[in-house]
């Protein structure tokens, strides 16, 4: 295509999508997943696909390249068409609704959008256990990436301690669940009725987060005196210590780990915690108190001279981030329903760092994007097996060379802007 035709298509695309508010897109997505529920099976059979493609066809494409045209059609008809058409048709009423909801109450509007988003995710993942698992892990990855971004991006430290925080949360939450509500080998008889379990699950998660935050003191306090490189080592040592600690703690299974966590981490639970995590972290980093993290990062001496309590700021930053890593760890343990010390080592660290730096430092959008894209990519490339671990690192190296701070760095996440109605001026075609 010449650059001129390229531009024409781009402008056409822009015109098409410009009037669609977020509400419209969500309705379009809902239309797509409903269509898939209704027509997915027969349609994929028609196209000669063995079953409904679980991950937008990526896995099928790699395993059986001959089916690529079929997959393409499937995605186009089942996802692309409803998304485009429903979103566009609903644009006007969606704008009207967005405007009125916003006018009525912003929290209300946000809740409606979240409910719709949840509906889409639920419906999509309902069709396959694999989808559900992938979705849950992706949401947890979002929590981990965002919380790591608080330390590495907003605070500008290079912290390798996150797997350690995650481990603390995972083990504490698991111990809480198993010892109190389940009869198992490690802890013996349950102490409380199993029915109470799901309701007290949040308590276990929060407990895990708090222990992780406590552990973060070991990294936060040295950060008062040492900077950058030395803190990186201290945090690395911390991670190895936590891993080694659990390897030697027979009471939680030692190197063999703990399994059979109760199946309480269902999609609504994981979704709600992820939303909470994003909401709270975003609130924090947008406030002046949160921006103090940036000030300490960019010039600590100046921050000091401008009444910023640098120690408290660092302390809050580390403990807050560790808390969420701990909660994510607890959720992780209950989704996978098995953890061992090996889960929380260098490989986990590399994955987390990749997601943060790929997505973008100091950016909520970046962390969400990085977590989702690398999680999905990692799943999608599974058929390539070991080649996956050449492609993904290469991709990351390319991003580091061309955009060293990540793809969407330093971008503010403004909820108000997200959910507001778009202008629906009729542009002459």
């Amino acid at each position: 295509m010449t650059s001129k035709t390229n531009n024409i298509w781009r402008t056409r695309l822009k015109r098409f999508t410009a009037p669609i508010p977020l509400l419209g897109w969500l309705l379009g997505a809902l239309g797509a997943v409903i269509l898939e529920h209704v027509a997915g099976d027969p349609f994929s059979e028609l196209l000669g696909l063995p079953k409904i493609p679980v991950l937008f066809g990526a896995l099928v494409m790699l395993k059986k390249p001959l089916l690529i045209p079929s997959v393409f059609f499937y995605v186009l008809v089942i996802y692309g068409m409803p998304l485009a058409l429903v979103s566009r048709w609903c644009a006007k009423p969606a704008n009207w609704a967005s405007a009125h909801m916003l006018h009525f109450s912003k929290p209300f509007s946000v809740l409606i959008h979240l409910a719709l988003l949840y509906a889409v995710l639920h419906a999509w993942s309902d069709l396959s256990a694999y989808r559900l698992l992938t979705l849950k892990f992706t949401l947890i990855a979002v929590m981990l990436t965002l919380s790591l971004n608080v330390i590495n991006g907003y605070m500008g430290e290079f912290s390798c301690s996150h797997p350690g925080f995650m481990a603390l949360g995972a083990y504490v939450a698991s111990t809480f669940s198993l010892s109190l509500f389940v009869n198992d080998r490690l802890f013996g008889e349950a102490l409380l009725p199993a029915g109470l379990g799901p309701f007290l699950f949040p308590v276990g998660l929060i407990l895990g987060g708090l222990v992780a935050a406590l552990g973060a003191l070991l990294v936060a306090i040295p950060s008062f005196r040492t900077r950058g490189d030395y803190l990186a080592i201290i945090s690395l040592a911390f991670m190895f210590i936590v891993k080694s600690l659990f390897e030697n703690l027979e009471i939680v299974g030692g190197p063999r780990g703990m399994g059979s966590q109760p199946n309480w981490a269902n999609l609504p639970t994981v979704f709600v915690w992820t939303v909470l995590c994003v909401w709270i972290i975003n609130n924090f980093v947008q406030s002046t108190m949160g921006k103090a993290l940036n000030a300490v990062r960019d010039d600590e001496t100046a921050a000091d001279a401008m009444t910023v309590n640098t120690r408290k700021t660092k302390m809050v930053g580390f403990l807050f981030a560790a808390f969420w890593a701990g909660v994510a760890g607890g959720l992780f343990a209950h989704v996978l329903r098995y953890i061992n010390p090996g889960t929380f080592g260098i490989q986990r660290l590399a994955e987390m760092l990749a997601m943060v730096y790929f997505g973008g430092l100091n950016s909520v959008y970046g962390s969400i994007m990085g977590a989702v894209s690398l999680s999905l990519l990692s799943e999608a490339l599974r058929p390539l097996e070991i080649l996956k671990w050449i492609i993904i690192p290469l991709l990351l190296i390319l991003v580091m060379i061309f955009r060293p701070t990540g793809l969407i760095a330093f971008r503010e996440f403004n909820v108000g802007n997200l959910i507001k109605p778009k202008k629906t001026t009729r542009i002459e075609d």
């Binding site: 260098i346 671990w389 290469l394």
Partner: protein
């Protein structure tokens, strides 16, 4: 007492590996102010190259119906492998780090991690998940020195390591390029102004560091003949910690810290159950870093992984 001396010998050997690898880290860290997280995997590749070389040489000898002494093959292996691995190091520098010279150092660190993963995966792809066995080149003989049993292998490993370190020390202290490296460690920006190419110094730094890592890999293969693609992770990270412990700006400090780490690990295993070894070693390191944050011989450059 003999028990103590016995472990001392073991610690010297164990520490040699850490020291040689730590040197590579420390050089890159001091001179180029970056962490080369791929270094542990370069150690692994060096060991494998050594394995390949040794196997090749042995096969050639058999074909040629000659039987050279084992130590000759070993020496040739070490020299050739060091040479070849240095090229790998230079390649890594050129492809991964040079484009990021001006970028935030954290980005270079991530790149290093990724290169490491690629090296590990490459190994898995080429050689499969099987472990390989380093060919036995030297017959093991044990000497009894008053109750302390020392194998010739251990002596050789320690001697070779120390010779390499001494050679490096002399190079850095006396040669022209060594001086350039010291200058760059001191003030990075001024060196090109004096007509010395940063690229050349960087390449040389990586070449030397990688060669040393290869030597460590081969010596490791002599002592513990079973190699696996992830051996770089275990050693690499610990040597990395040792390098920082030695302090920024001090290459010999890194070597000393490597030996110290070896001592800590061996003597911890002596007293405590071996599963606690990592836990205690890292705790000790953590304590040292908390109370002496600039390492043993480092100065307060307040170096920062800046955004």
């Amino acid at each position: 007492m003999t028990f103590f001396l016995q472990n001392l010998v073991n610690a010297l050997q164990w520490g040699s590996f850490y020291a040689l690898i730590a040197l590579g880290y420390a050089m890159v860290y001091s001179i180029l102010m970056l962490f080369n997280f791929a270094h542990g995997d370069i150690f692994m590749v060096g060991a494998y190259i050594g394995f390949g070389m040794a196997t090749l040489l042995v096969a050639l000898a058999e074909m040629g119906a000659v039987s050279p002494p084992g130590w000759l093959i070993l020496v040739l292996t070490i020299i050739i492998s060091m040479f070849l691995t240095s090229f790998l190091g230079m390649l890594v520098e050129r492809v991964g780090y040079r484009p990021l010279r001006e970028a935030p150092r954290a980005s270079a660190a991530i790149t290093g991690l990724m290169i490491g993963i690629i090296l590990e995966t490459g190994n898995l792809m080429l050689l499969g998940a099987q472990r390989v066995r380093f060919p036995r080149l030297i017959q093991s003989t044990t000497y009894d020195l008053g109750g302390v049993f020392v194998t010739n292998k251990k002596i050789m490993i320690v001697l070779v390591s120390i010779s390499l370190m001494v050679a490096l020390h002399q190079f850095v202290k006396r040669s022209k390029w060594g001086m350039a490296m010291r200058a760059m460690a001191f003030d990075y920006a001024v060196v090109p102004l004096m007509g010395v190419s940063i690229n050349k110094v960087a390449r040389l730094t990586f070449a030397i560091g990688s060669a040393l890592a290869a030597a460590a890999g081969i010596l490791f293969g002599v002592a513990y003949p079973v190699l696996d693609p992830y051996m770089g992770i275990v050693f690499g990270w610990k040597a990395f910690v040792a390098a920082i412990l030695g302090g920024r700006g001090s290459i010999m400090g890194a070597a000393l810290a490597g030996f110290l780490l070896g001592f800590i690990e061996i003597f911890t295993a002596m007293i405590f159950p071996s599963t606690l070894r990592d836990l205690i070693a890292y705790s000790i390191i953590l304590l040292i870093l908390v109370f002496r944050p600039h390492g043993f011989f480092g100065e307060d450059y307040s170096a920062r992984l800046r955004l």
